[in-house]
C-alpha cells in the first residue's frame, strides 16, 4: 500500500469519525432540547411507554378528543384499555399518519376518529407540535411533506432548527407512562349559552376532498389490520354549520367499513349540560368529560367483543389519578 493510499484512507476515516460525531450530536441535542410534552396532545413520549399490543381502542383527532375522552373512565365502565392520541387543531391528513404510526406498537380493535377537522384549513397553527413529537419514522417523514406547510418542513426534518434556542433548559430524555392515558383535564366550568353553529370560514372543496381521502385511507389501513373504525363528532356547543355537517355525513356514508356517530344529536342521552360540563363551547371540562366518557364506554364496548386482559394495577392507578383530578 503506497503512502498516498494510506493517506487517503486516514482522511476517509477521519471524515467518517467527524460525520458520526456530528450526527450523534444532532440526535442527542434534538432529544435534549425539544421540550417535554405530556399534556395538550401529541404525547408520543407517553404513548411509547404503553406495553406493546395492550390497547383495545385508540382515539384520534384534535383537542376536542384529548379534552373530552377519558380512557380511565372507559376502563372503569367497560374494562377496556384505551388511549387518546390526538393533537391540537390536528388536520385529518396528520391524523392519517397518527393512525398508521400508532399501529407500529399497538394493534387496537377500534380506531375512533373525531372528524371536526374535516373543515379545518389545510394547515393549522400547531403543525410543529403535532408532527414534531412523532417518533422518527417513515410516517413522520410523509406527514412532514403532506401535512406540514412548506416553511415548517425544515424544522420538522431537523428539530434543532426549531428548538436550538432551548439550550439553557436541557430536558429530561425519559418519559413515563401517562397516568391519564393521553387525556388532558380542563377543570374550569364555564357557563355556555345556547348551541350556535360555527361558520366554516374559507371553505375549500380541495382541502375537504383531501380530508375525506385521508379518512378513506384510515379505513383501508385499519381494515388491513383487522381494526374497526368509528368516525364521530364530539358533543359541542359550536358545531359546524348544519349544511356542512350534512355534507360531511353524506361523504362519510360513502366510506365503506366505518360507522359514524354525531354525538351532538345525543345531548340528552349523554346528560351533558351547558351550564356545568363545558370548559369552553368546544371542549368539555373534567365533569363533562367524565359524563361523556361513561356514555362512550358503552359504545366502545359494542365494538370490542373480547377485550384483552388489561394491566389491572396500571389501570386502577389511572382510575385513581382521574378521580384525584376530578376532585380538584
Amino acid at each position: 500500500m503506497t503512502g498516498q493510499h494510506t493517506n487517503r484512507l486516514k482522511e476517509a476515516a477521519a471524515f467518517c469519525c467527524f460525520l458520526a460525531a456530528l450526527l450523534g450530536f444532532v440526535w442527542l441535542a434534538s432529544a435534549l432540547l425539544i421540550p417535554h410534552r405530556e399534556v395538550y396532545g401529541a404525547n408520543w413520549g407517553g404513548y411509547a411507554k404503553e406495553k406493546r399490543g395492550s390497547l383495545d381502542a385508540i382515539f384520534f383527532g384534535s383537542s376536542i378528543v384529548y379534552c373530552d375522552v377519558v380512557p380511565a373512565v372507559i376502563y372503569d365502565r367497560a374494562g377496556i384499555a384505551s388511549y387518546v392520541l390526538a393533537g391540537p387543531e390536528q388536520t385529518l391528513t396528520a391524523t392519517e399518519y397518527y393512525v398508521k404510526e400508532a399501529f407500529r406498537t399497538q394493534s387496537p380493535r377500534l380506531a375512533a376518529v373525531e372528524v371536526n377537522g374535516a373543515f379545518y384549513s389545510e394547515y393549522t397553527a400547531y403543525t410543529k407540535a403535532n408532527i414534531g413529537y412523532m417518533p422518527p419514522s417513515l410516517n413522520r417523514l410523509l406527514a412532514t411533506f403532506r401535512a406540514a406547510e412548506p416553511e415548517e418542513r425544515l424544522g420538522l426534518l431537523f428539530p434543532l432548527v426549531n428548538y436550538h434556542d432551548e439550550w439553557p433548559h436541557f430536558q429530561n430524555l425519559r418519559y413515563d407512562a401517562d397516568n391519564l392515558a393521553g387525556y388532558t383535564p380542563m377543570a374550569e366550568a364555564n357557563q355556555i349559552g345556547g348551541i350556535y353553529e360555527r361558520p366554516v370560514e374559507a371553505f375549500s372543496q380541495a382541502v375537504f376532498d383531501r380530508n375525506i381521502e385521508s379518512l378513506r385511507e384510515i379505513v383501508r389501513f385499519c381494515k388491513s389490520r383487522d381494526c374497526k373504525v368509528l368516525f364521530f363528532l364530539a358533543p359541542n356547543h359550536q358545531p359546524w354549520e348544519g349544511s356542512y355537517r350534512a355534507m360531511l355525513e353524506e361523504e362519510l356514508k360513502t366510506i365503506e367499513g366505518a360507522d359514524f356517530i354525531d354525538f351532538n344529536r345525543r345531548f340528552d342521552e349523554e346528560e351533558l349540560s351547558g351550564y356545568r360540563d363545558f370548559y369552553d363551547p368546544q371542549h368539555l371540562n373534567t365533569r363533562g368529560a367524565e359524563t361523556f366518557s361513561a356514555y362512550l364506554a358503552g359504545i366502545v364496548k359494542s365494538y370490542v367483543d373480547t377485550p384483552r386482559e388489561p394491566d389491572k394495577t396500571l389501570w386502577e392507578e389511572r382510575v385513581n389519578a382521574f378521580k384525584t383530578v376530578r376532585a380538584e
Binding site: 410543529k128 436550538h164 439553557p168
Partner: protein
C-alpha cells in the same frame, strides 16, 4: 440569495461540482452564468445595469489600447462619468434631491425636487468600484486591456464577492480567472474553514448582538440609559465587524474552494492601537482602493504642505463615508474619522514628548492595551453615527453616554443573561482567532492538519447549531453591507 440562507448552501456545492466537472473552455462562461443567476435572485432587472457598467468599462478600456481612436484620457473620463452617473442616479439622487429641497425651503423658495422610486441595486457600489479600478489600472498602463469579454464580465460579477466585496483588483483576480483550477482537496478544506468561520461570526455573534443593538437604536433617541447605549455602541461595532468580515470570509472561502484567492478584507481591526492602524486593518479592499485611486492622485502624504495633506485625508474619508450610504449620518461618520486622522497627525509629537516625560516606552504592553481600548472606544463612538437613524439621534445617544454613564441595565436589552454570556464567550474566541490569524493564513494551517481540521469543523458546526440565530422566533438579519 443570502450567504446565510439554505438556498446558498445548496447553490454553492452544485456550482462547485459543475465547475470542476466542466471542461476548461466552458468553466468561465458557466461561472459567469452562475454569477448572474446569483445576482438576479434579488432584482433580476438590475442585472442589466451591471451588464451596462461591464460593457462600458470593457469597451472604454479596449479603446484606450487603440490610440488612433482618440486620447486615452477621453475614454477614461467617459468610463468614469458613465459609471459614476449610474451610481449617482441610483444611490445619491434622492439624497441630493432631499438636501436641495431643504436648502430651497431654508431660502423660502417653494421647490421640492421629485424623488425617484427606484430601489438601490444590491452591490452597486462594490462592482462599480471594481470596474472603475480596472479602468484606471488600464489607463495607467499597469494592466493590458482585457480582450476576452467573458473573462472580464466574470471579473466584475464573480459571485462570491459580487454583492459585498472584497473589492478585488484586476491585477489579482483577472489573471486567476484565466488559470486552470483543477479540483484540490486542500483548497476545498481551506475554503470550507473560512466558510464555516464566517457563518459562525454571522449567526452566532453578529446576529445575536443585533438583538441588543436593534433594541437600543430602533427606539426613539434618549429612551435608554447611558450604560445601555454604551453597550449598544460597542455591540454594534462588534456586530458590524463580525457581519462584514463574515461576508468576506464566506466570499473568500467560496472562491478558495474553486482555487481562487481573494484579498483579505480585515486584519484584526479591533486589536489596532491607533486610528491609522485601524484603517490599515478595516475593510482593506476599500481603504486601499481609496488610497490607490483617490488619495495618491490627490498628492497623498507627499503633498508639500501639512494643510494639503490633511485636506487630502479629509477628502478621502468624506468620500468613504458617502460611499457607505447616501445619508448625513454616513457623511458625519467619514468626517469624524477624517478628524481623528488629522488630530492624530497634529498631536503626534506632543504624544511622543508626553511618553518620554512619563518615561513610558512606546513598546510598553500596558500602553498598548490602553491604546487598543481607547481606539476601540473612539471607533465605537464614531459607529454611533453609522447606526443611528439621524445625526441628531446619534448626538442624543452620545450625550446620554457622557451624562448618564451608568444608566440602565445591560440585561434589560432584549437578551437573557445566558445569551449575553454566550455572546461574550464568542467575542473572546473572535479576538483569540484574530490574534492567531495575524501570524499567517489560519485556514491553511487548520486545513493542513487532519484531526485539528475536523475538530474545528465540529466545534464550529455545533456552535452554529446551538447558539446561532436562525429558525422560528428570529428575524434573519441581512448582511449590513448589502445596503451599500
Amino acid at each position: 440569495m443570502n450567504f446565510n440562507s439554505l438556498s446558498y448552501c445548496l447553490y454553492l456545492p452544485v456550482t462547485l461540482i459543475l465547475y470542476f466537472l466542466l471542461p476548461k473552455r466552458v468553466k468561465n462562461p458557466f461561472l459567469l452564468a452562475a454569477s448572474y443567476f446569483f445576482y438576479m435572485c434579488w432584482e433580476p432587472q438590475y442585472a442589466l445595469l451591471m451588464l451596462t457598467s461591464t460593457g462600458a468599462t470593457y469597451l472604454c478600456a479596449r479603446l484606450m489600447a487603440v490610440t488612433f481612436l482618440g486620447r486615452r484620457r477621453l475614454w477614461l473620463i467617459l468610463s468614469l462619468a458613465l459609471n459614476l452617473l449610474i451610481l449617482f442616479f441610483f444611490k445619491y439622487y434622492n439624497f441630493t434631491a432631499d438636501l436641495t429641497g431643504r436648502l430651497f425651503a431654508l431660502l423660502g423658495v417653494p421647490f421640492t425636487p421629485p424623488l425617484s422610486g427606484l430601489l438601490l441595486p444590491v452591490g452597486i457600489s462594490f462592482y462599480t468600484f471594481q470596474a472603475l479600478g480596472y479602468t484606471m489600472d488600464v489607463y495607467r498602463g499597469e494592466l493590458p486591456a482585457e480582450r476576452n469579454f467573458i473573462d472580464y464580465a466574470l471579473f466584475v460579477s464573480y459571485f462570491p464577492q459580487l454583492v459585498a466585496g472584497p473589492i478585488e483588483r484586476s491585477r489579482n483576480l483577472l489573471p486567476q480567472l484565466k488559470e486552470p483550477h483543477p479540483f484540490c482537496l486542500q483548497a476545498l478544506f481551506e475554503g470550507f474553514t473560512l466558510f464555516l468561520w464566517g457563518m459562525f461570526k454571522k449567526l452566532v455573534i453578529a446576529d445575536r448582538l443585533a438583538i441588543m443593538v436593534n433594541f437600543a437604536f430602533d427606539a426613539p433617541p434618549g429612551t435608554y440609559g447611558g450604560l445601555q447605549y454604551a453597550v449598544a455602541a460597542a455591540a454594534f461595532s462588534l456586530q458590524i465587524y463580525c457581519d462584514f468580515s463574515a461576508y468576506s470570509d464566506i466570499a473568500r472561502g467560496s472562491a478558495r474552494m474553486m482555487g481562487i484567492t481573494l484579498m483579505r478584507n480585515f486584519d484584526a481591526p479591533f486589536l489596532a492601537g491607533s486610528i491609522k492602524d485601524f484603517w490599515r486593518r478595516w475593510h482593506i479592499s476599500l481603504s486601499t482602493w481609496f488610497k490607490d485611486y483617490l488619495y495618491f492622485p490627490l498628492g497623498g502624504s507627499r503633498s508639500k504642505t501639512a494643510l494639503r495633506r490633511y485636506l487630502n485625508l479629509m477628502a478621502v474619508f468624506l468620500v468613504s463615508g458617502l460611499w457607505h450610504g447616501a445619508a448625513l449620518t454616513f457623511f458625519a461618520w467619514g468626517l469624524i474619522h477624517g478628524l481623528f486622522q488629522v488630530a492624530s497627525g497634529l498631536t503626534k509629537n506632543l504624544r511622543a514628548k508626553a511618553l518620554a516625560t512619563l518615561r513610558i516606552s512606546p513598546a510598553n504592553r500596558g500602553l498598548h492595551v490602553f491604546r487598543v481600548v481607547f481606539n476601540f472606544a473612539l471607533v465605537a463612538g464614531a459607529f454611533v453615527f453609522f447606526r443611528a437613524k439621524s445625526v441628531m439621534g446619534a448626538l442624543s445617544v452620545l450625550k446620554r453616554i457622557l451624562l448618564d454613564p451608568l444608566g440602565g441595565s445591560v440585561l434589560a436589552m432584549g437578551v437573557t443573561g445566558r445569551s449575553f454570556a454566550a455572546v461574550l464567550c464568542a467575542v473572546v474566541l473572535l479576538f483569540a482567532v484574530d490574534a492567531q490569524a495575524r501570524k499567517g493564513d489560519l485556514a491553511e494551517r487548520i486545513a493542513g492538519r487532519r484531526w485539528l481540521k475536523y475538530a474545528v469543523y465540529f466545534a464550529l458546526l455545533v456552535g452554529i447549531m446551538l447558539f446561532g440565530v436562525y429558525g422560528e422566533g428570529y428575524d434573519p438579519q441581512e448582511f449590513i453591507y448589502f445596503q451599500f
